[in-house]
């Protein structure tokens, strides 16, 4: 369906042009990309809308209406996955905004060893998520882990990072921030560098303190960067799977399950319809939260 629509687009457009054979911008240039994208991404997405309403074995499917969704909102552990996903996305994206911005302000000032600091903060972005997850699982071990042993040296009894059900989700979120804050930082650096120096000049003449500089010049003028960081890390947080899976597998119990890990667990257990319903729930969750969020961020921007 989607294939034909895109292919149709280019044919019609090409036929409408008088210089059809001479056009240096042939419509069929869209075709290979459109076919791969439609078959492997759009078609399954549309199919998921149907299969989420079925009990499904991959070979045959029985239509059961909204039962999967009812189950999704009734089973306590599935509901917890939903709540956890939102908490995780909010925690990681807000921490990335705050820390990323502070680091960027620091890195665009006259600080020494800027190159070193930038590289060190950014490098974790490029490292394998599974590798990072395993490393921190070992470091966060309640007794043998280096973090708690280090805390013991200064007389603090470290918490059971990943084994405490109240804490596990936040511990994973913290590692997510560790790995991803470098990206937020470089986005903010790009945003800060683009602010014309005149504004700071004018603020200096008006006798602004550094703190006023930050709140009345820097903060409003790097709002596009803030919008990008929030949107990117919020979507990333809602979709997160690999770090959770490498560190806790949703445990202890279901304490750190997210929708994405529920989808995988239900898939492994053979509940394909329920797993697909999870996909649709995640899709709706992203649409419901991210679309208003981006509209809000852009509206504020126009208001400035």
């Amino acid at each position: 369906m989607a294939v034909s629509s895109i292919a149709g687009v280019s044919d019609v457009a090409a036929a409408n042009r008088p210089m059809r054979s001479r056009s240096p911008y042939p419509g069929w240039f869209f075709l290979p990309a459109a076919i791969i994208y439609s078959v492997l991404f759009l078609a399954p997405t549309f199919a998921s809308l149907y299969f989420s309403l079925t009990r499904w074995t991959l070979f045959d499917s029985t239509f059961i209406g909204l039962d999967n969704f009812v189950q999704f909102f009734r089973e306590p552990f599935l509901v917890q996955g939903l709540v956890n996903t939102v908490i995780y996305a909010v925690v990681t994206s807000s921490l990335k905004v705050v820390i990323g911005m502070l680091l960027a302000v620091m890195l665009t000032s006259q600080i020494m060893a800027r190159g070193y600091l930038r590289s060190v903060i950014f490098f974790p972005v490029l490292v394998s998520t599974v590798g990072v997850g395993i490393t921190f699982t070992v470091l966060m071990h309640p007794t043998a882990g280096a973090i708690n042993q280090g805390l013991a040296l200064i007389g603090i009894k470290g918490p059971g990072w990943l084994v405490d059900p109240k804490l596990a989700l936040y511990s994973v979120a913290l590692v997510d921030v560790w790995k991803g804050v470098g990206l937020a930082t470089v986005i903010y650096i790009a945003g800060l560098v683009a602010i014309p120096r005149d504004y700071y000049e004018a603020a200096r003449i008006d006798g602004a303190t550094p703190l006023q500089n930050f709140f009345y010049v820097t903060l409003p003028l790097c709002r596009p960067a803030t919008a990008t960081v929030i949107t990117l890390s919020f979507i990333g947080g809602l979709r997160t799977f690999d770090l959770i899976w490498a560190m806790t597998k949703g445990g202890p119990g279901f304490a750190s399950d997210t929708v994405a890990s529920v989808i995988y667990k239900q898939y492994q257990a053979g509940f394909y319809g329920l797993s697909t319903a999870g996909n649709v729930v995640l899709f709706i969750l992203i649409a419901v939260l991210v679309v208003p969020l981006t509209m809000f961020l852009n509206r504020k921007q126009g208001h400035e």
Partner: protein
């Protein structure tokens, strides 16, 4: 001058980032140098001997040289999908930037949808099975292309908009066919953004864990990230080997980082300033 305060601030920043960002990597390296007994302590002690080479040999030989297969598979998938991505995304970006039709809106919507919507996993598996692509390397390549096209197209379209149209027109007047205009005139000019694309997408696809986990089951198909995940259960008493494995798969991104730092940052911050 406030030089003294800034020196203190600088030293504090260096110390803090060292503890937070460098020490975890030092931990990986130290663990990879230890023998099995010492690594079981999981502390920051100095390795009592040089065991890195033994560990590497053991990791590589585990499960019938699975690590070697995995490196070959990951390399094949990365190279093939990045090549396809570049050609296809540049073609779309070129026509999208040059030709204004009323369907441009629809195409841009599809691009944004591709960036936001999580792929529907089980229906994709069902479809791949129907197409006989499930659990094959070329199926994996096509999946990576489909999922990463939107980002590459955005990078290309923004860059192509800065190349003057007169160039294509001159080529057409000189008698170039559409394919010549694109492959001989435009594509070579896109080199800077192509490098950015290559680097960002290679790192992403090489590090991808979720998609191979779903679409590429089976030991003969293992990718580098999956070996690490499999070894996690197998090596859970042999931390030296687990961390040697982590060290080995961190080397390719490290090399990319050292040579292409600028392009990576350019690619990942594209569009952030304009908003």
């Amino acid at each position: 001058m406030k030089s003294r305060a800034s020196v203190i601030g600088g030293v504090a920043a260096i110390a803090a980032t060292f503890v937070v960002f460098v020490i975890p990597f030092l931990f990986i390296i130290l663990m990879a140098f230890k023998d099995r007994q010492q690594s079981a302590l999981r502390d920051f002690s100095w390795p009592n001997g040089f065991h890195l080479w033994d560990n590497v040999v053991q990791v590589v030989q585990t499960r019938n040289w699975m690590m070697v297969t995995a490196f070959i598979n990951s390399t094949l998938i990365t190279v093939a999908s990045v090549t396809l991505l570049i050609v296809l995304a540049a073609m779309v970006g070129f026509v999208l930037a040059r030709r204004k039709t009323r369907y441009n809106g629809l195409i841009e919507f599809l691009i944004l949808a591709g960036l936001m919507i999580p792929p529907a996993v089980v229906p994709t598996i069902w479809l791949l099975q129907g197409l006989k692509l499930f659990g094959t390397l070329h199926g994996m390549v096509l999946i990576q292309v489909a999922y990463n096209l939107p980002f590459s197209i955005i990078l290309y379209r923004a860059f192509i908009a800065t190349i003057p149209r007169e160039l294509d027109e001159a080529a057409v007047i000189d008698g170039a066919r559409p394919l010549d205009v694109f492959f001989r005139v435009i594509l070579p000019l896109l080199w800077p953004v192509t490098v950015t694309n290559i680097v960002v997408q290679s790192v992403g696809i090489f590090n991808d864990f979720t998609n191979p986990l779903y679409y590429l089951p089976g030991n003969q198909n293992a990718t580098v990230q999956l070996t690490l995940y499999n070894f996690q259960s197998q090596f859970n008493t042999a931390y030296n080997l687990l961390f040697t494995n982590i060290l080995l798969i961190t080397i390719p991104p490290l090399i990319v980082f050292m040579f292409f730092n600028r392009q990576i940052v350019a690619g990942m911050t594209a569009g952030a300033v304009k908003g």
